[in-house]
Symmetry: D2
Subunit: 294 residues, 4 copies
Amino acid sequence: MPARNESLRDHACLIVHGPDRPGIVAAVTALITRNQGNIVQLDQYSDDADGGAFFQRVVFHRADLAASMPEIEADIQATLADFGMEWTLTDQSVPKRMAILASTSDHCLLELLWRHRRGELPVTIPMVISNHTNTAEDVRSFGIPFFHVPSQGTDKSAAEAKILELVKDNVDFIVLARYMQIISEDFLETVGVPVINIHHSFLPAFVGAAPYRRAKERGVKLIGATSHYVTKDLDEGPIIEQDVARVNHAMDAAALQAHGAYVERAVLSRAVQWHAEDRVIRHGNQTIVFSDRP
Amino acid sequence: MPARNESLRDHACLIVHGPDRPGIVAAVTALITRNQGNIVQLDQYSDDADGGAFFQRVVFHRADLAASMPEIEADIQATLADFGMEWTLTDQSVPKRMAILASTSDHCLLELLWRHRRGELPVTIPMVISNHTNTAEDVRSFGIPFFHVPSQGTDKSAAEAKILELVKDNVDFIVLARYMQIISEDFLETVGVPVINIHHSFLPAFVGAAPYRRAKERGVKLIGATSHYVTKDLDEGPIIEQDVARVNHAMDAAALQAHGAYVERAVLSRAVQWHAEDRVIRHGNQTIVFSDRP
Amino acid sequence: MPARNESLRDHACLIVHGPDRPGIVAAVTALITRNQGNIVQLDQYSDDADGGAFFQRVVFHRADLAASMPEIEADIQATLADFGMEWTLTDQSVPKRMAILASTSDHCLLELLWRHRRGELPVTIPMVISNHTNTAEDVRSFGIPFFHVPSQGTDKSAAEAKILELVKDNVDFIVLARYMQIISEDFLETVGVPVINIHHSFLPAFVGAAPYRRAKERGVKLIGATSHYVTKDLDEGPIIEQDVARVNHAMDAAALQAHGAYVERAVLSRAVQWHAEDRVIRHGNQTIVFSDRP
Amino acid sequence: MPARNESLRDHACLIVHGPDRPGIVAAVTALITRNQGNIVQLDQYSDDADGGAFFQRVVFHRADLAASMPEIEADIQATLADFGMEWTLTDQSVPKRMAILASTSDHCLLELLWRHRRGELPVTIPMVISNHTNTAEDVRSFGIPFFHVPSQGTDKSAAEAKILELVKDNVDFIVLARYMQIISEDFLETVGVPVINIHHSFLPAFVGAAPYRRAKERGVKLIGATSHYVTKDLDEGPIIEQDVARVNHAMDAAALQAHGAYVERAVLSRAVQWHAEDRVIRHGNQTIVFSDRP
């Protein structure tokens, strides 16, 4: 049983989404109240008041939450069945288990490890997997297991099988922290947990390889980074977070890359935090993000 | 009877604040539902889950709202009395009436008039009052009445009396769009409506006169602007919105002023919009702003 | 003879670019000194110290500049011939003549007129041309001639011929302030002056039509605007300036468009100012911008 | 003899400042040319073309720089004596020696060590000194010596004497990376090298202790950080760099502090980099920063 986050003890997060209908907000809040919950935070959004989709995130405090979860879940199911809504209920004190996949670049990887150590990412990190060994010592200095799974030529299936073996049932989501191998569709289907990537451009600009070089060639005045859920279509998945930095003519592609590293680590960190806090709801190829930022 | 904003017909905004208690969110949402309201947007905030202050803003749609307001208000009063909450209910389709006070600078004034013409500020503007005449023609070209109330020496009371006469019962709030006269405590008490100011610095830095000159002397690398409610203490009122722009050593005080004008007009516009949309709740010398911006 | 900008009287701007060679900076500064010029500002850039391209912008003060221009130009020609450099010398007190082409949207157009009136754009505006008439009154209230040249069906040649007739020999550059007609390659070749456009996306993302709608569909978390020189390839010309604004899931395409208008007007204004101040040097499909901003 | 930065071999940086006079730029560039230097970068600024102060930074390449420094320095002295200018000439391949003083907070400290390891700060770090021991292991994992100098009660003189002993003749500048002890005037005079601090507010707002708590109390909508040279007047020294982050009502003082840490580490890193690259010139209580950033 994982260590609990004591500051979030007895805090639950209920995500509800489905077709919008009058009374849905009231039904959910009444449900929480009759289950002795006290609403701490509530965000909701409807993409069209007249027949659109509805999304709600409610964090509530409920004494003795762990023991009462089954009962609350039964009531949610009974209540929301009427509305045709999908829902998930999570105990906020149970951190999600996150695997990080990395390659030689350390900036995104170390930023995640360091924010985790500061207590800013509500996750556990059971493992870091890399196809290189250069970050092993740093990773282990944070007390986190490091596994080396080398990439071997053009056939990725052996490496992917090895990674699947490591993460199987051990993690709740996977973060590609500048992991420079393309993930196969097979892997995505088999792994069965969300995979979050950081792409080093402001998508949909510069999909694919070498975005900083292409940014230089196009002469853009801003560079960017994009964190998104990985789907079978390269760099096309639902965007969680993006940001940019100003550049100028005097910066060559290497300078763009060095400068962009700071955007990448910030964007990925925010995306990971929001995913870990159940703030992101996928909706088609878009995301609803109930961010904690102004 | 003022022109209604048809896109917001039958939309009400309920603001509730007071001591936080379990069940308050559910009580309010149930109340709206039993009054045939459909919640369109809901924001809430508690500054301390354990005995703090609670703030909620709910926008709901209710067919035939205008006719049913008295009934809904009676129900709100009955419901919230139990919780000791303060509340206001407004019909979102009725624009607030805003007077603008200006001096020679036109950048904040014209920005507000222009955003209003674009339909981005849900207000009517019954009058612009200035102690100078240079903006009269521009103001009237927007179809808005302009009144010249000159400042006369050190005794402001005659000018303030004239302004009070103009705004009395005619406006719901007043905006000082770089109005360069200090408002007396007497005026504030008599006028009885909120007064919003734009100060040309990042408060609390550079309270008082000549902030750009003092910013230059201090050698700051960012300049800012602050919009706040006016209280009897100069530049000390509750802050609604702030922003900054980067500057460097090569900009003299005049360049800072020219550059800062663009920050001022943006900051004041956002503050006015949020106030007009009932997104700002005063709480002591602070504000809760349920902004529509990411 | 156009009105001169008295604050820039006797200020010249020399732009030099060509193959980088040792001693080029010293040669140029010595040249200015022996022509009684005092350097006020100097920017230079070399894209590769070892055989790259060199770019320099020098602003200098020289008493009685207008009379001495021929003599200085002769000396520049003699000096720079040795280095194989291209150059232009302009009298900074002579404002460039700018035509604005617009359609129904007024935000970029009015921002340019308003900044011009504030003295922040060193240009004259001999004409605004629009294929609609809705902005005529606003434009003329600034004391600027307005010409209506309607677009007529799919054959743009008559309208373009009419525009060419108006601008021929009357303007030094043309700004497309959300002008919603595609400019033909013939027009560009015939007009013989730079044409600056504002595109309502962060290029190269969302080239072409309806960028806000496509931004919404892709679920981006930032929207942007790009000002660039127009070339025969749509939205592919050298970028002068770009910027972005944060958006979120709750904004529909119309909200993105309303929000983006503020980015567009700021980006276009900066691009126009920098072009007018000879701060932009085209180099292949890129620009060197010696900006005055930190 | 310290390890040289090979990528900057034979690159010199000449800083010149003093009263502005016609011909100064040409005199300096001619001087560099006749000493076989090729100008790589040149920035200059005059705060008033008519009798103001002049500042110039020139980076030039000169084969066999180390051997020719005395000769170049003699020529600079002879040339600039006529203009009454102060100057410094540095070999850019020789990194400055930087001591870091820290307390318990690790965010600024680790960011500097990590950027240094990436090769982004052109310094050597002969030592980290802290009045606590919690960061010792992290510091040493970067291969950098760590010294513990505890603060002892209200008399700081013993601790300061110990620090002086460590840094004496061993460092070129000192960085206070959230070092929570006030530096005495005696220390500053004795140490004889520049000391750079990071203050956790947007100065001049919230000078002194507990800026995040006071920011919360004042209800500001942005928090900031300021890096400045330390002078005898607390938080009053010349500002090198500042930045801000947006906050809202929902963040308590602890959240502001956690959020602000990311601003602090970025601001301090930029200030340190610019100081190390001789991009900062002190001028009274202001700085001229010839930044490499757009």
